[in-house]
Symmetry: C2
Subunit: 455 residues, 2 copies
């Protein structure tokens, strides 16, 4: 019987990555990088793996789901496995260990649960905030609104500091709010996928620690894990919640949350019962500990295939080139290149300044006179899928491009070059079309026989 | 650009199925079976699809996850797609439509949410039962305990009728309970995966309708959809909740729930707010309606790849041979064959009578003197994966075999034959080992130099 391989890269890809790995040793070297042979699954690609190629498809450059590797997709097609089998348990356990490594934490507690990123909010609201307790939401877009909504659903008293559109909440506003009221948690969206606004995670955590050290710092990192720098222990974060389908380069369907031991203590000493069943850490904590220690346990069936896929993605991120630090640098460089290009095309970005602009996505206003219909379908015809706006008040005014994971780090794919070229072409076509139309409109003043509807 | 195919079967498999499809037209003919060409995705297998084979692996015959087809796994390896794209929306919409067809319902409302089956309990408890309302749980095993626990978490006042181990709750007990108190919901586990006990879904629904017609009938069908007969409209069910990894033959990670319009009305007219965020139908109902009508909508990113896989599985179930009715018959026949074989081997089943024994799984006590260690690892060595016990009080006393999906309906796989042969062999080996041991033990009375630990 062949044992199946979920850890492998094509030799070409591996070589390409290795060629960019000559950078100095990363600062994270104090966190030992696992030796590949300590991992549970074999590292020899099977012959089937080396031939698996995903089908030709349109280039997906929305801010999640993102393009993923053939290896990850092949792992998602793993034959059915028992969720409590000796073969599967260490695959799950390795995900927990590699996730810690990626977030630079020694002892924080990961939770891997079938669900979307949204389920992370429920976990925070139901496990860490008791009904009637105060929560402060730093709102930099659509996902701040939603996190508030979720916290209120579970009984929290929520205050919000709402940043101006395209900006992040300032640290001085946060500091002032913390001085006025005691909060059980402060939440922020590291990258708000609706606006592409990046919050200063390190600064927020430092401010909370300084003014209100008991308050838990909750980072919604759905659109930032593995594309933006996150240093869980050094920065003093208490929760990082995310999902599989963005920087982590895995299909969607996995809610990923990492909680500090301080947060676990707060959960364990809460006075009232947890207000969710499926999202209850009382149920999940023993399961996560069991899987990590290599023993079977059951609460609900984990998404086994997706865990294989996630394991493969985490190995590519933490065990292969580029290093985690290099990965951050490559995301910054790719982002800078795309942002420079859109500026050259005359497009204005949503983030009001570069310090609050995400490195894994770019959000731009449509040029004057153009709408989504002028840009998005023409790009689609060129086999490039970008995203429309999402923020409730502005969604018709802008579009979003994702550049996370392999689209950002593997320059041989030329994903961002393709996007820039297609965008340039589509904008020129749209402008030319508008000019022709306005020419026709001027003609119409003379020739009134042309029905207006046809314009 | 090639369009990707998620609906295809190998020609050989299709022919084998078709050869058994000469049965008379099923009674469900009044529910029109969709014409394949009305479905969104193409029906031509691509060349890549026709060559994809899952890797050799141990035969998985636990009561879920189950063995799945190559086509389903290949769909799970679909390239990344936008969750709001024109390509993906009808794939999701078709899942909703085919699910109705499978459950024989005209207008019930499906919910497809990233999560495990457990999330279905949260949906019921948070959307249909208001805090302080009465719920009656018909408890036929481990999953009855858990459903009660979930209902209480969201504030329901729960009464339970606990069946004797290996039996289902009787309809007369249900009737008596309904006459004593008014319940918002009655819940039951159609097949309790921990015991293999089958409840009389039709009889339970009829009893509730007769005695307490306003009470909602909630069926936990995680281990019964597509393996046991379920007639949603005819029987008057209000909720069927299930998961992807059992009879539906899809990898785990999808919570699937179908609610009657009566249940939706109860939800819509509730007095208090819904007590979950991620599980809130207030959030999900507009999304499900949008996907079904072919328009994009967003609350949380759906598990796109798993939806492709589920779509493929549902097409195999509802559009190909065998028909849905034939599928039920084949599950009954396979089950009867395995149950007859284990009886011949002298094994006693957990269900106290055949009328309460599931058709998709079999639970047997270990023979006297043997334990899990005598049976499960030897079967594993023969590349067959069965499950240990799960019920809290009896889990060391029995084992479970799953026979759902392709293991039940595709006789060319010979899955159940392999299980029977391996079980017979393992039992004989274990008995021979015990006999040898007891012979050695008798010898030890004379030779006391042998250390006991080595036995």
């Amino acid at each position: 019987m062949l044992s199946r391989t979920s850890f492998s890269v094509s030799r070409t890809r591996a070589r390409l990555f290795l060629s960019s790995s000559t950078a100095p040793l990363p600062a994270c070297a104090r966190f030992p990088r696992f030796h590949p042979h300590s991992l549970a699954t074999t590292t020899q690609p099977s012959s089937a793996m080396s031939t698996f190629k995903q089908e030709p498809h349109k280039l997906l450059v929305i801010p999640g789901p993102i393009e993923v590797t053939d290896e990850v997709l092949y792992a998602n097609a793993h034959p059915s496995m028992s969720h409590v089998s000796a073969d599967f348990i260490p695959v799950f356990g390795d995900c927990i260990r590699m996730l810690r490594e990626l977030l630079f934490t020694q002892d924080a507690q990961p939770f891997l649960i079938a669900g979307s990123g949204t389920l992370g909010w429920d976990q925070v609201a139901a496990n860490l905030v008791e009904p009637g307790e105060n929560a402060l939401v730093l709102n930099s877009g659509y996902f701040g609104d939603s996190f508030s909504d979720c916290l209120r659903t579970y009984g929290a008293k929520v205050d919000e500091i709402v940043a101006p559109f395209g900006d992040a909440v300032s640290l001085s506003e946060l500091e002032a709010a913390l001085k006025q009221k005691k909060y059980k948690v402060v939440t922020f969206t590291h990258v708000d996928t609706s606006t592409g606004v990046l919050s200063d995670a390190k600064g927020i955590a430092a401010t909370v620690k300084k003014v209100s050290p008991d308050t838990l710092v909750i980072a919604d990192c759905v659109c930032s894990v593995a594309s933006e720098e996150i240093r869980f222990d050094d920065w003093g974060l208490d929760v990082v919640l995310t999902a599989s389908q963005k920087g982590l380069g895995t299909p969607p369907g996995l809610s990923i949350l990492v909680a500090s031991q301080k947060a676990i203590k707060v959960f364990e000493t809460r006075a009232s019962p947890v207000t969710s069943y499926y999202g209850s850490w009382k149920k999940w904590l023993p399961i996560m500990k069991a899987y990590e220690s290599g023993t079977p346990a059951y609460f609900a069936t984990p998404p086994v295939n997706l865990i294989y896929a996630f394991n493969t993605a985490l190995k590519q991120i933490t065990k292969q080139s580029p290093s985690i630090e290099e990965r951050f640098r490559l995301h910054r460089e790719t982002s800078a290149r795309l942002k420079h290009a859109v500026e050259e095309l005359g497009l204005k970005q949503l983030p009001v300044k570069s310090s609050v602009a995400a490195n894994g996505m770019t959000a731009c206003y449509f040029p004057d006179g153009l709408t989504a219909a002028d840009i998005i379908p023409p790009l689609l015809k060129k086999d490039i899928v970008i995203a429309a706006g999402l923020h409730k008040d502005y969604k018709l005014k802008y579009f979003r491009i994702g550049h996370m994971g392999i689209s950002a780090i593997d320059s041989t794919r030329r994903d961002v070059d393709k996007v820039i070229a297609a965008l340039k072409e589509s904008l020129a076509e749209a402008q030319a079309g508008k000019n022709a139309l306005s020419q026709t409109a001027r003609t119409r003043v003379v020739d009134r026989s042309m029905p207006a509807a046809r314009l």
